[in-house]
Each structure stands twice: as structure tokens, then as C-alpha cells.
């Protein structure tokens, strides 16, 4: 015989204001199997919890219903309290009479009636609950970090410092990400390379970090604590273990300085065998197969060039190198794949996003994007930090900076604010003025968004001390014109504060393009079962309370792959993700909620509907064989490590062979039936 205790909370006034708690307790006490029904001002408080414990002891309760706030808020609290008082925590249920009742109704009578119904449902459920034990799974104490920008570097260093082995995978030949190419950084104007390169070197040398550059994640199997990840090491044609980084090869390559260097956003050149920038880690070259004379000639059975190989003293170059697949086992994964800039030009890959043909980006060489400008004013950039415009190498005297290019422009299909461009544009004007004292920096903006410690002060400095001219308005068109024989870019803007058109003839134009997630991130997210939004930014589990976790257990996020952010925020998030990963990996065994799907293998017809429906790839079709190994039948089977208990499979199974432990059809129907007399 069930002995259920029901404890209704007032939540101070939150519930009691709109729900007559005495009436509720009274009504519930009449339900069959309810051994006690009481209410209290703060159920979650120490006295509230003691009240529940004392009733468990006194009456020997077999189930508990707490009617209060959302289970998201306090289910753990009450389950723990009951567990301590001696009953299995899965015999405890909550009825949400706050968020779903008192807060959303203002007629007390109706709200009270609804509270009674909600609690009645919970009573019916708990009556059918069984004691359950959390699932325990072992943990592989090793982490994978994908992407080695500042986010991935920081996360890897922190995890490694916690004594856990890290595999750091980066698809480019070097670590560093965007930050390695930035000039000086707001809000302090310290040199980006100077603060980043020591960390790049550290990840290259740390005994706990295994660096895999020029590599990508190919496949992910397994589940939290026990992932099996296949990594594709792309053919580099240089054995980086043999290579000493002497440089004889890249200095001798006949293609030297002939191929646009993507690290410089094609403003500078490199050879077919190259390191992307002098501080690269590893400081080992890569051969760009598409541009190498030898590798191209080999397709036609010839062997042209090969100079680099002849120059190499250590026999590190191998023209027959192939992609290699490496399988690693890890317990946690941190995704740090960063961002790219929206491409601005007329032609766009994504049909939902439109370009700015009116700005002539891609057509006019001196209309560049903000990352290109970073290279132009970076001491390590293609112009050695001298501001020179790409078309003719002249020093620009007037630069127009346009903010919100793509961002916040519904007509182009990107609705969000990219968050960092107001700040880096202010930085750009300063750096330009520090180098070209008589130069003019014009900024067209919609709003200046400079929230952050010392951030608004930084923008004010650009305007007040360095004389950047800010115009509040958009530029509608940029035209290349000739002014007294000089090539200029005429920017037709508006100054909405003075209500006048504002036309500026610039020598160069810098566009603050929207921040978008890195290419290919969706495919990676699908391999990891991590969600993403319409733009491809990866989804955190909860925007406030679980900002670096994802809905895929054991997968964490940090940096710009989750949304636009600057370096301080990226680094903070990276350390947070590392911390979360370390906490997880520090446990001897992982416990998971036992409320997962379970297949009745006798009933299952192995139709595969659940396999297709499961968003976490947690179900597979398996064979059932007898002891002698004779095949009996196929059945679907749930991997308890992967199942997230979402219930999708239960809904699609045509033969009702899957059920969700702790949320069985039986329980759900009983809850619905308890409402039968209501309808």
C-alpha cells in the first residue's frame, strides 16, 4: 500500500498569493494513498527539508511529492533531502505550481483548482515510480580540444596543468588562430603576438599536450567519458619529427613569394612549401599540394622540381605522403573552432545571406575587411606594419571605417550584433593615427557598443585624443573615382545626427564584417551531436547557468564558436570549459541519470524507426543469439552511455517496444487519466 507524502510550498508569497495552499493540502489529503499532506512557507529551507525528513521517518513514506517551483530549480535539492532521510531519490517528484500556475494566473480560485490537478498528477506518477540507481560509467582521463586559437590553446594549457593529457587538434599548419594575426589588442593596445606566442610555444612543448596540426576530426563514436575519435592527419609532405625547421626548403622553392598566403588574408605571399608566419608552432613547413610543381607533375607521371627535397639535410620531405587516420580515446571534448568574417562580397554561399555589392568588396582592391587591416598594421604583416594600401602601396591619408557590415542588417540576413567590431574599429582608428599623424579616420556607425571594463574610455580616447571622426549613419555606396589624378573611394554616407548626407573620399575603406562561425562547424557539430543556431553558432546547454556545457554530455564549448566574443571573454570561457572538463575527468566513475530508454527486446521488430529518430545516435540494431551462437532475431538496443532520455524513440516506435525508465507510458497515461474528471 502506497504511503505518499505531499508537501506544498508557499514560496513565501510567490505561490500563496495566488494559490490557497490550505485548500490544496486539504483536497490532496483525500486522494487514495496519500499519507500526509501539508504546507509550509519555504519547503526548500532547512526547516522545510527537516519537515519532509521527519514525515518520512514517522510515517515510513513510500513516495514524496513536493509541490513548489520548477524541478529545474530544486529537484536535486529535494531528492537529496529524501535520499538522506532514507528513501530512494527516484521516488520523489515535483509538481510545478509556481512557474506553471501561481505566476501565470491571477484568479486565485482557478489557480488553486489547477494546483490541485497538477499535484494530483504527480501523485499518480509517484505511485508508479520505482527505486532506480544512477548509471555508472568509467572515464578515460584524456581530453580532446578541437581548434587551437586562443580559446583552444588556453583550454588545452589549463587541462594539461590539471594533470590530464590533452590532444589538441588544429586544421591549419600552425596553432594561433585569428589572434596570431592581430596587431595590437584593445583595450590595452598590447601586441597580440607578444602575449600569444609564449602560449603557442608552451602548447607545442607541454609534456601533457599532444599537438596535431594540419588535422581534423573525422569521426566521433562512443559517449561521455568514453569517446573514440578518429582524427585525419592531412598529408603535409614534411615529416615534422625529422624536420628541424632550418628553412633551406622554403627559401629555395621556385614558388617562393608567388602564392597568396591565407594567413595574411591574401595580402602577402608565400611559397609552395611554407610556414604561414615566422612564429608558427610547430615551426615546420607544409607543402601546398595544389601549388607545388613536383606534386602537380606527379599526377602526369613526371617529376619536376623537387628542389626542396634536395635542399633538405634531414630527408624530411616525402612527396608520397598520404592522409593518415589516427584513433584516440578521450573522456571529454572541448570545441574551440572560432570564427570567420562574413564574406561581404556580392556572391554568397548561403542563400539566406546577401552580400554588399554596393561596397565593391572583392572588386576594389583597397576596400578591405577588418582582419586584412589587422595584417596591414601588424608589425609581422606583409607591409611590416606600415599602413599601405593594397592596390599601389601608397600610404593612405584618409581611411573610412564602416561598422556593422552584415551585422544588425536584416536586409542582408544577419540580425545579431557582432559585439567586438565597435571596439576593434576604435582600435583601428588609433593605430592608424599613431602611424599616420596627419591622417583622417572616419567611422560610420549605427551605435557604439562598448560595454566592458575600460572599453568606453577606450572609444572616447580614439575620438577625443586621437581625433577619429565618428559619423552616425550608414554608407549606401562606395565608388572608385579619380580626384586630381588620385584614385579615391567615394563613400556616400549619411550623418543622421546632423541630418545631412556625408560624402567622404577615402584612400582606403575598412569594413567591419559580421562575425560568423568557422566554415565546416555544422558538420563537426553533427558528429558531436551538439546543437547550433541558424547561423551555425554552437549552442550552450543553458545561456546563464551552463554556458560552456552542451546538451551532448562530455562536450564543452569555448570561444567564438559559441558566439562573437573578444579575447578576454574567450580566455575566460576557455578556462571555464577546461575547469568543467577537469571536474568531469576527476571522477573515478561518471554517474548518469537512469531515466533512459529501454527496449523490450522480445517485442521489438527491429524496424529501425527509433534508430532513425534518435537525435543522439544512441540506438542501434543488434543481433540476439542463443548460447550456441545461433541467430534468433534482430532487435534495437539503447546504449545507456549515449541515451539522453529525450523519449523521441518512445514516440515513434510502432510496436510500443521502447519505454522510458521513470517515465513509462503507464505513468504518463495515469497522469493524464487523473485529469479525466476535469474534462
Amino acid at each position: 500500500m502506497a504511503k505518499i507524502g505531499v508537501f506544498t510550498c508557499w514560496c513565501g508569497e510567490n505561490i500563496a498569493r495566488n494559490v490557497d495552499v490550505d485548500k490544496v493540502s486539504e483536497a490532496i489529503s483525500k486522494l487514495p494513498g496519500v499519507a500526509c499532506s501539508m504546507n509550509y512557507k519555504y519547503m526548500c529551507s532547512e526547516p522545510g527539508q527537516s519537515l519532509i525528513a521527519s514525515k518520512i521517518h514517522e510515517l515510513g513514506l513510500t513516495g514524496v511529492v513536493v509541490a513548489s517551483c520548477s524541478p529545474h530549480m530544486h529537484l536535486k535539492t529535494f531528492r537529496k533531502a529524501c535520499e538522506t532521510a532514507g528513501i530512494n531519490s527516484y521516488l520523489v517528484e515535483m509538481a510545478n505550481i509556481r512557474e506553471q500556475c501561481s505566476w501565470v494566473h491571477n484568479d486565485k480560485e482557478i489557480a488553486t483548482a489547477k494546483a490541485i490537478e497538477l499535484i494530483g498528477m504527480a501523485v499518480e506518477k509517484v505511485r508508479r515510480n520505482h527505486a532506480l540507481e544512477p548509471i555508472k560509467v568509467p572515464v578515460t582521463k584524456r581530453a580532446l580540444v578541437v581548434g587551437a586559437g586562443v580559446a583552444g590553446i588556453q583550454a588545452a594549457l589549463d587541462i594539461a596543468a590539471g594533470g590530464v593529457e590533452v590532444i589538441l587538434v588544429e586544421r591549419e599548419p600552425s596553432v594561433g588562430g585569428k589572434m596570431a594575426g592581430l596587431s595590437e589588442t584593445f583595450p590595452t593596445l598590447d601586441c597580440s603576438q607578444c602575449i600569444l606566442t609564449p602560449r603557442m610555444v608552451e602548447v607545442g612543448q607541454h609534456p601533457n599536450i599532444k599537438l596535431m596540426t594540419y588535422s581534423e576530426v573525422d569521426k566521433v563514436d562512443g559517449f561521455v567519458g568514453n569517446f573514440k575519435v578518429t582524427i585525419r592527419k592531412k598529408a603535409r609532405y614534411v615529416d615534422i619529427a625529422k624536420c628541424t625547421g632550418c628553412g633551406s626548403c622554403w627559401n629555395a622553392c621556385p614558388k617562393k613569394n608567388k602564392i597568396p598566403n591565407s594567413f595574411d588574408y591574401n595580402l602577402g605571399n608565400r611559397g609552395a612549401i611554407y610556414i604561414p608566419f615566422p612564429q608558427a608552432v610547430p615551426a615546420r613547413p607544409t607543402i601546398d599540394a595544389d601549388n607545388c610543381l613536383r606534386l602537380q607533375s606527379m599526377k602526369n607521371g613526371k617529376e619536376l622540381c623537387g628542389i626542396c627535397q634536395k635542399k633538405c639535410q634531414t630527408e624530411a620531405i616525402n612527396f608520397h605522403d598520404q592522409d593518415e587516420f589516427v584513433e584516440v580515446e578521450v573522456g571529454a571534448i572541448v570545441v574551440a573552432t572560432g570564427y570567420q568574417l562574413y564574406s561581404i562580397k556580392k556572391e554568397q554561399e548561403n542563400p539566406n545571406i546577401k552580400g554588399y555589392a554596393e561596397y565593391g568588396y572583392g572588386k576594389y582592391p583597397d576596400v578591405i575587411d577588418s582582419l586584412q587591416f589587422e595584417r596591414i598594421i601588424s608589425a609581422s604583416g606583409p607591409t611590416g606594419g606600415e599602413p599601405k594600401r593594397p592596390s599601389d602601396g601608397k600610404t593612405p591619408k584618409t581611411i573610412v571605417f564602416i561598422q556593422c557590415v552584415g551585422s544588425r542588417d536584416n536586409a542582408k540576413g544577419i540580425t545579431y550584433c557582432s559585439k567586438i567590431c565597435c571596439m576593434y574599429t576604435a582600435k583601428h582608428t588609433m593605430l592608424f593615427k599613431h602611424k599616420v599623424h596627419d591622417g583622417a579616420a572616419h567611422v560610420f556607425y549605427m551605435d557604439i557598443r562598448s560595454g566592458g571594463k575600460m572599453y568606453d574610455e577606450f572609444v572616447r580616447r580614439a575620438i577625443e585624443q586621437d581625433g577619429a571622426q565618428y559619423h552616425r549613419g550608414r554608407v549606401s555606396k562606395i565608388e572608385q573615382v579619380n580626384v586630381d589624378g588620385e584614385k579615391k573611394y567615394r563613400c556616400y554616407g549619411a550623418d543622421t545626427l546632423s541630418g545631412k548626407p556625408c560624402v567622404v573620399d577615402a584612400d582606403m575603406v575598412v569594413l567591419a564584417g559580421a562575425i560568423m562561425p568557422s566554415s565546416g562547424v555544422q558538420q563537426l557539430a553533427q558528429k558531436l551531436s551538439v546543437g547550433y543556431n541558424e547561423y551555425g553558432f554552437l549552442s550552450e546547454s543553458h545561456p546563464k547557468l551552463r554556458p560552456v556545457e552542451t546538451n551532448a554530455a562530455g562536450v564543452f564549448l569555448c570561444g567564438a564558436c559559441q558566439g562573437p566574443k573578444d579575447i578576454p571573454e574567450t580566455v575566460a570561457q576557455a578556462s571555464a570549459a577546461a575547469g568543467k572538463a577537469l571536474i568531469m575527468l576527476s571522477q573515478p566513475m561518471l554517474t548518469r541519470e537512469p531515466e533512459i530508454a529501454n527496449v523490450d527486446e522480445k517485442l521489438c521488430a527491429a524496424c529501425g524507426a527509433c534508430v532513425k529518430a534518435c537525435p543522439y545516435q544512441a540506438i542501434s540494431i543488434e543481433e540476439i543469439r542463443d548460447r550456441k551462437g545461433n541467430f534468433i532475431k534482430n532487435t534495437s538496443r539503447v546504449n545507456p552511455g549515449l541515451c539522453m532520455g529525450c523519449g523521441t524513440c518512445v514516440a515513434v516506435c510502432p510496436s510500443k517496444s521502447v519505454d522510458l525508465i521513470g517515465f513509462t507510458d503507464d505513468q504518463v497515461y495515469a497522469q493524464v487519466e487523473s485529469l479525466a474528471d476535469v474534462f
Binding site: K346, A357, E358, K477, E479, V481, N482
Partner: protein, 283 residues
């Protein structure tokens, strides 16, 4: 090919040379124009600023006539008309209440299922290659600046035609016909036509900007697909000269050039009655 035809007021008035050009060119291409019976003004010039219902009802009546005549597509050579017709068409198609209201007002059923097209879209429907095959001469000597003005591509949500800022559909056609369209800045920059009555100085400055850029970019003529643009760019050159315009620029309709390419006589295309006369080598 068979197509509905809505000339609109301009083509029956100030721009009847455009009508001649369109008719002759279409005939040469084998496109039969079925003029709407008893069409009315679409309200493009003023109604949309004054009365929303009226600005839908005026084009709706024409759309209703087209539907009654069983016309699947309706060609409006004036981009203002085609934009207003498209706008009304879309609104009526997607809103049942409006469909009913408009059908009542114009006293004929309107469903919003007519495909409204501009001049360039008619050429696209015929096919650029098919036109090139019909061509009897190459448009050598022609270095046109293709001018789309404000309306052919805008508002993009309504007209859904080409890139709103950097369209290329006229260039593609004229290239096929042997002309050498120039790269220039002002394809979609307003010529000020809409300010003709209210701000003469403003119009002169805007016209000057467009035409001078065409000249500076190496064009020897400007090609338009809009009666308003044609009139304005053609008629305002004297004013633009006061601002420094360096030479006369002949202004063609797109149908003039296509017509010339497929063998129509300059006289039939009515290209003689222009303010800036067309030089011999461009006839």
C-alpha cells in the same frame, strides 16, 4: 510567345517612342503582345503615397483584367508599373481577406496569380541565346552604360529581380549581341527623375553624376529600361552641362538596341525623336 501587355500611362503619353520601340522589337522577336482591354492607370506616380487601398485597387483592376483574359504573364515596360503590379499581385495572393476585398472593389475576381514581368525579363523568357541567334548585325561601336535606375531592382523584397545594387542582366544580354558594356559606378544610382517637378537643381546634379560617370567610364551611350529614366537623362543634359557635363550622351531604351541587333529599322524603333540625337554610327 504570347504575353499580356500593360503599356501604362507613360507609354501612351510622353514616352510613346518607348511604346513604338517595344512593339517593333517584340514583333521582330516573335513575341505577341496582348494589350489589356480597358486598362487603367496603376497609380504608380502618386497613389501609393496617399492611399494604401487605392494603391492596391488600381493595379488590382488591371490584374483582374489580365486574369479574365486568361493571361499567365503580364509585361509592363515601365518598372514603376511593374513594381506596383507585382506588389499588389503578391499582397493579393498571400492575403485571403484582401483578395476578397479587392475582387469586390474592382468588380472582377483577382487571385494574384499573374506573373508580372519587366522588359529585361521578357528578353530572358525569349532567351538571350535565342535573341543572339536572330541577330542580323553585331552591336559593334556600342559601348553602353547599362542603367537600371532605382526601380528595376528595388525594393528587392518586392521585385526579386537581379542583384539590387550590382545587377548585370542587361550587360549579359548586350554582350551577347556584340556590344561592349562598360563597368561603371552608377547603374543603380538615382537620376533624380522623381524630383523633376519639385527640385530642378537637385535633378540636374543627380543627372550630371550619372551621365558624367558613364562618360568617364568610357561609355558612348546609356541604355535604360524605364521611360522616366530615359526622359530625365535625355532631357536634362542641357542643365547637366551647366554643371560640367563634358559631352552629349545618347540615351537608348534596351528595346532599341535589341531591335537594332535583330534588324529593325531605326526609324521604326522611333529613335529619332530624342533630345540628344543619336549619332549615325549608333543607328
Amino acid at each position: 510567345m504570347d504575353i499580356g501587355y500593360y503599356p501604362g500611362c507613360a507609354l501612351h503619353g510622353s514616352s510613346n517612342d518607348y511604346e513604338a520601340s517595344v512593339r517593333v522589337c517584340m514583333k521582330a522577336l516573335g513575341v505577341e503582345l496582348n494589350e489589356l482591354e480597358d486598362w487603367i492607370c496603376c497609380g504608380a506616380s502618386a497613389a501609393h503615397c496617399i492611399n494604401k487601398k487605392l494603391s492596391t485597387a488600381l493595379p488590382a483592376r488591371n490584374l483582374g483584367i489580365a486574369e479574365k483574359q486568361n493571361l499567365k504573364s503580364l509585361f509592363a515596360p515601365c518598372p514603376m508599373c511593374s513594381m506596383e503590379l507585382t506588389k499588389a499581385n503578391e499582397a493579393i495572393r498571400s492575403d485571403e481577406a484582401l483578395r476578397k476585398e479587392m475582387s469586390d472593389i474592382v468588380e472582377t475576381p483577382v487571385t494574384g496569380n499573374v506573373d508580372v514581368v519587366n522588359l529585361i525579363q521578357v528578353f530572358q523568357a525569349v532567351g538571350y541565346d535565342a535573341i543572339a541567334e536572330r541577330a542580323t548585325r553585331k552591336l559593334e561601336n556600342f559601348k553602353p552604360a547599362c542603367y537600371y535606375g532605382c526601380l528595376l531592382t528595388r525594393p528587392p523584397k518586392v521585385v526579386k529581380f537581379d542583384d539590387p545594387e550590382e545587377p548585370t542582366s542587361m550587360e549579359e544580354l548586350l554582350q551577347k549581341l556584340g556590344a561592349e558594356p562598360v563597368e561603371w559606378n552608377c547603374k543603380t544610382v538615382c537620376c533624380g527623375g522623381g524630383l523633376t517637378l519639385s527640385d530642378e537643381e537637385g535633378v540636374a546634379a543627380m543627372t550630371y553624376r550619372v551621365l558624367q560617370n558613364a562618360i568617364d567610364s568610357g561609355a558612348n551611350c546609356v541604355v535604360v529600361a524605364c521611360p522616366m529614366c530615359q526622359v530625365n537623362l535625355d532631357m536634362r543634359q542641357a542643365d547637366a552641362k551647366k554643371l560640367g557635363l563634358t559631352k552629349d550622351v545618347p540615351i537608348f531604351y534596351l528595346s532599341d538596341l535589341v531591335g537594332l541587333a535583330v534588324g529593325c529599322a531605326a526609324k521604326d524603333l522611333d529613335i529619332e525623336r530624342r533630345y540628344v540625337s543619336i549619332p549615325k554610327d549608333l543607328k
